[in-house]
Amino acid sequence: MPELVVQLTRAGFLALLWLFVLAALRVVRSDLYAASGVRTELPPSKRDKKQPKSRGGGGGKQPRQLIVTHGALAGTRIALDDRPILIGRADDSTLVLDDDYASTRHARLSMRGSDWYVEDLGSTNGTYLDRAKVTAPLRVPLGVPIRIGKTVIELRP
């Protein structure tokens, strides 16, 4: 092969290898913003930045995600649809807690009409909506902390 072709293909191969790496990183990047049921905390995208401001008053906003603010799973988010969310140590819970103070089936969040309700499923240590112990199903307003053992979750728009 002529020397020029050798050199060009040599450089070309290295370029191809790095293109693969870049393409992979591009997938990683797009994946950061892609929807998935559970997400870890991300740097806010443009859309996310706008939302908190308009949310200010709370008001008529619909909760769209559940976010864990304290505890071992802090930063976990679950996008809400209208299916109930089971919380507890059981493997098949929606949010599987690994918390010494949580019960196997601890609490359930479910949607009635347009509101979300939290109910305690007979847990040992109780479920708290803000400071109040949940004995009957309670409506969960936006941004009010629900305490389960050492884990605190909130509903966010």
Binding site: W18, R47, Q65, R108
Partner: protein, 484 residues
Amino acid sequence: MSSPVDTSPGTGSGPTRKLPTRRGTELLMLAFATVIITFALMLVDANQGQELTLSIVWYGLSYLGVFTVAHVAVRYFAPYADPLILPCVALLNGIGLVMIYRIDLASAERAAQQDIAFTPDAPRQVVWTVIALALFLAVLVLIKDHRTLTRYAYTCGLLGFFALALPGLLPASVSEVNGAKVWVRIGPLGLQPGEFAKILLLIFFAAFLVSKRDLFMSAGKRVLGIEWPRPRDLGPIVLATGAALAIFVLLKDLGQALLLFGMVLMLIYVATERAIWIFVGLVPFAAGCVIAYNLFTHVQQRTRNWLDPLATYDEPGGGYQNAQALFGLGTGGVAGTGLGAGRPEMVPLSKTDFIAAAIGEEIGFIGLASVLMVYLILAMRGMRGALAVRDTFGKLLGGGLAFAITMQVFVVVGGVTSLIPMTGMTAPFLSYGGSSLLANYILVALLLRISDAARRPQQGGRPRGEQQKTPLSDTGTVLVERPS
């Protein structure tokens, strides 16, 4: 692939929400990897003065075909799995194959000059790849949910220790190759059970730590500002680690010992979230290093080779290998000699432990760095799956598996580049060797399974979710709004 589909959780509500499975991206990346591998093969043949024929295209296509089968299996059995893991593995495996083929060409030439019989390794590695992919499919099909593995945790642990000890128990004629007793050879077939033991033990340790995690976290006395767990909870794991290390030292395979110890330490750290465990673990590690150094002459030799490969160049078992690897990397320089234009066969064991040196010589620092980047992306995606999965066993297992890859690459590339003393270990997916390839494909299948569980929508496809819903969540609870 670039459109950040369905970003905000807001659009994600509603029962018919469909998550992108991103299998298309995977296929695209696989095709890209195929192009790179075919190009590499072409360059090798051209630079080695082989005739360029259409057969290369056929090789490339069959490579793509084999991985397309794996892709279809993933599409079917783990539709939400990570789209990058398989292409990264395919690329690494392909580069390894090309490199082995390339060293085969050089060795064949040399063998022809000296009139010795020569059997090429590349076809065998191809066969191993196909077998490994079959095993990969089997794991994906059989293990529908990684949590079922916890049921077999103690079986896995027992099997793992047995597999580790097996070569040590067998006579040296069956188990010893190049001074390391890690083989089980039956006729022409040789396997290193230690490679599989690694995964089995990882499953065992992950499950064990999950069941005992509470005790690690809360029980125990506070001494010197550290909460020590009760000895009877920590006992088994210390014992297991000690036993594994003893076995490894008896087998004279320091690389595996290092890997196992690193994995256990990392699992404890992930399980307890306490950095103090790393430091606590480093003390026995340092002690072990000192003991091993004083007990075993080959450890002293390895250390001397590492400190100054040229000083021990001529000694038997001396710095010859390390020096040759460094010469190779030096010859390659920044941009490499070009595929097929270097002399990677000069490095001993260039198909297995020293394949990083061969790659570094032919595609240079730029190429070797890109290969390491691919490893990094692979490990990162594994870790990401582990982070996002919702159960602790999955988190520990995924993190451990991803860490195992990282640790292996660090130990082997660190050894080749003389960053750390050389310990015999294969580079995952790159090196020639059936056991390593089989074991690492199983590892990848488990990683895919975990990442699939992580990205799968919550309730659909959960094995027990459906049954469970009726008795508990739909029982007659009355919703009463509390008067506020």
